[in-house]
Amino acid sequence: MSKNGQKNGDQIAIEVYSADGYDFVEEIASEPGGESIRSCHQCGVCSGSCPNVLWMDYSPRKIIALTRAGKRKEVLSSNSMWCCATCHLCTVRCPRGIEMPELMHVLESIAIREGLAGRVSAPTMQRTLVNAAKRQGRVHELGLMGRFFLRTNPLAALKIAPVGLKLLLHGRLPLRAEKIEGTDQLRAIVKEAQKIEGAE
């Protein structure tokens, strides 16, 4: 796979529902929101509407085409879904009613589960946020940013430090993290959800 997804992507034939594609499509379709992948007729309005398409290895339309063609590894290890800001401009324009961001999130969750999301830093940010959400019940933005940069690129923190400092000086980054009383309820929710998902 060349770095230039645009060019390379054009050369890949779109085999709608190839044998490999069938399994991959079924896997995605079993998740809420994922079933819409069957409705796409490849018009490309999503790609034309996306504000971040130029940053993506494959445009949203190509992601669907590649998925149906069974290009599992190419899709899951691409950066496309991690560039999606969930702005839903594609959703409201899609003539087939597909919620592309929801589909992108399904792909993200599979990529994370299979360890294919290593090349981008967005998953680290999301995992850091989610860990705080389920352990403390509150997200502490200063702690979130600190942990994110420590885990990804501590040097990049320098670039962003002036922003953090300004926020701090304007009373917008409390130093202390909040924690809710019902953390035991959150623990029970997460444990039970994992039990159900593990059984499937």
């Binding site: 959703t91 946020l129 926020l167 959800a193 998902e197």
Partner: protein
């Protein structure tokens, strides 16, 4: 006084504390009582649905279960929280197979949720419950001469909303005009600010932020008005970075709707959190803040 369960969300406790302060400050004048949902937990935002699909429904369901017991509409000023809860409700309706799973998960925490909570964004409550005319009738300090760009962002109006257009929304324009402000044309009014991508992909986000600032600035806006904590943070705190990256000289204060609303209602600037802005609004609002009467 109409009562609501109030869900501030994590951002309103930190980077958007001015939003929380100003919303609480205006509520009484508008005849609404916001009762903070006791021991609410983080909704998990869209990030959670990338990490774990079932948990991303079940964790915010704890809040909905707590709110259902109170029997009031759940109102949040945060568009990301609003969209997360709206997604939970619509998923539970669209995908009946989720219901028994979610029931089981909640039962493990001694909770239950029957899908009855009406989740509302603050803007929805202001426009449809309080009403633009009623708000206009309470204005004691009209914002005459103030040129603002009304910024809706993405998630207030997308993927679906009952009270406005998803690409060319106008509800905030009307509300701001009723306060006496001049609303400039703003083609980027519902374009994306990048949201949390500003942390994981700052170069991408800076480009999006630049385009929004440029659109407001070139149309003569003196300030941008927003109803989302993430939009405010990105346009305000990263404006300096945009200026050095793109060689621009933007100096646009990014105000929460509730801050301007409070000013028009005559509430003291101190109660509205204006000093939290990184791009100071003092110059732009000078004439208006001195006239505060309450």
């Amino acid at each position: 006084m109409k009562q609501y369960s109030y869900f501030p969300g994590c951002s309103l406790k930190s980077t958007a504390v001015a939003y929380d302060e100003s919303v609480r400050a205006i509520s009484a004048s508008l005849g609404i009582e916001l009762i903070e949902l006791e021991d609410w937990n983080c909704c998990g935002t869209t990030a959670y649905s990338s990490i774990d699909r079932l948990e991303s429904i079940a964790v915010p369901c704890r809040d909905l279960a707590l709110a259902e017991k109170k029997g009031l509409d759940l109102v949040t000023p945060c568009t990301a929280c609003f969209r997360t809860f709206e997604r939970v409700n619509s998923h539970l309706k669209l995908y009946p197979f989720l219901k028994p799973k979610v029931d089981k998960v909640l039962a493990a925490a001694g909770l239950e949720y029957h899908g009855q909570v009406k989740v509302r964004h603050l803007v929805d409550v202001l426009i449809n419950d309080v009403g633009v005319e009623a708000i206009a009738s309470k204005v004691v300090n009209p914002l005459h001469g103030l040129r603002v760009a009304a910024y809706y962002g993405c998630l207030l109006v997308r993927p679906r909303v009952a009270f406005d257009d998803p690409e060319n929304p106008e509800s905030l324009d009307g509300l701001l005009k009723s306060l006496g402000a001049e609303v400039v044309p703003f083609p980027a009014k519902s374009r994306c600010c990048g949201g949390s991508l500003v942390i994981s992909n700052v170069d991408l986000a800076l480009g999006l932020i630049q385009r929004i600032l440029e659109s407001a600035d070139s149309n003569g806006a003196e300030a941008i008005v927003t109803v989302c904590p993430l939009c405010q943070l990105n346009l305000d705190a990263y404006q300096g970075m945009v200026n050095s990256r793109f060689g621009t000289k933007f100096s646009l204060p990014i105000l929460f709707l509730s801050q301007l609303l409070g000013t028009a209602l005559g509430i003291k600037p101190k109660a509205l959190g204006f000093d939290r802005g990184i791009v100071s609004p003092d110059k732009v609002l000078a004439g208006h803040l001195q006239e505060s009467v309450r």
